[in-house]
Symmetry: D2
């Protein structure tokens, strides 16, 4: 995977996401780092749905993982809006407090038809993983 | 699993969900059927986030699956708000059109500490499954 | 899925499996029922690897789920040896005793390129599910 | 996870696996590296089941992932034979040729009751991941 190079900048990605999901504001797509095979997304609690216990809900975490996977793929293949999730598996490991958390998305395989991404959600410290997700996207013929 | 009996009615469940997720209106929790080991949730496109292609987004589908799993578990053990998702796996099989769709949640195992639920999302016809999810919840000591 | 019809009999499937996996004897492929969208595989403890505790190992259970999924797909599309597993998710729900157990494989979606199968392992009684698996196979162009 | 320290050496682990799975020879448990939160297992094609196409079967890959996860957990908590897999998800990314391949198991979370491990299978080069698996083990009260 060492030869993968991002084709899009964070700004270009944000432009796409704002157009694709019109109800959301620009700060919902805070791609703080994009490099070979990798993307980091910062998430503010203000966009999150809370669940009983005052912690960030599972669906919010899954939405973030799915978004980070979509973003890292598009960053490397260009804008292909009809790439769609075909499988997502998520393990919830720790409660996520109602403050900033991060999603680190790493391309494990970028094939012609399928891309698989490992996404780790963490809070406070990279080594404190709060959830792990493996996401597969189907990429349409272009 | 034949001896499982729901402890809560649909109305009691809706009351809980409205309290637990204050931002959502009553129609977001449309439990149309609850019976032994089973719950059916109707979803209107008006609560859904759409994605490019005008179809219902993956995160919306995952949120629905997670909610149906939570609901069928609480229906059978009573109101235990701090039951939390520990794993969710979802296979997305077909595009989901922007109209009503359903989630059928079936308890596969209801243990003391863990409950596992099979959730199938379908549209138009029960046999046209648009997504399948297996959801595991951890149940706290009570 | 109501219009699916098996193209192969149990005997034809067993012939294929015996050829494809030469080290295994005929009784390892005991397809006791094949019908529209469905296949049941009986498993004898004699083919199983045990794990500490004297119970049937997780890898044995996964091998059985994968085999039942492969078999139900081939039963409905004919002999396509190069269909390969692309994803398998398994939840282990109860210990499996060292005696006969069954795998019920149900096609959830049979597409041109991907097939998704729900597999439930049970012992003694169909309603006592010991493990649930969702298996996706990629089907090559033919 | 930086403070995790292995409690067992490779030799002690091999001894346990040889006792626990009596049918297998010592070379089936080739733990080539154990360090904080991490274990690498080398696998020879001679222990593998092949599938049509002459490649290493999916069940063999899952057995390897499950074993590597079990080993990395025991390496860090000591010999707890009744730790059992509760969930395993595997994405098969590339065909695995009938020669040596490796499994790198990394502890994502080591809790008191549950441990979650990311396992990557690779061949020839660490960056050529052939399969990714997330494995959760339930750890009994001790």
């Amino acid at each position: 995977m060492t030869k993968l190079q991002p084709l899009l900048t964070a700004d270009e990605l944000v432009d796409f996401f704002c157009e694709a999901f019109p109800g959301q504001d620009r700060s919902a797509h805070d791609f703080v780092e994009i490099k070979s095979g990798f993307l980091r997304l910062r998430n503010s609690a203000k966009h999150a749905m809370l669940r009983p216990g005052g912690i960030i809900s599972g669906p919010t975490q899954m939405a973030v993982a799915d978004r980070a996977a979509y973003a890292v793929i598009l960053a490397h293949i260009g804008i292909v809006p009809m790439a769609v999730t075909s499988n997502l598996n998520m393990s919830f490991l720790r409660g996520v407090e109602a403050r900033d958390f991060y999603a680190d998305a790493q391309l494990i395989k970028l094939g012609r038809r399928l891309a698989t991404v490992d996404v780790r959600l963490w809070q406070d410290d990279e080594s404190t993983v709060v959830a792990q997700s493996t996401v597969t996207y189907a990429i349409p013929d272009q």
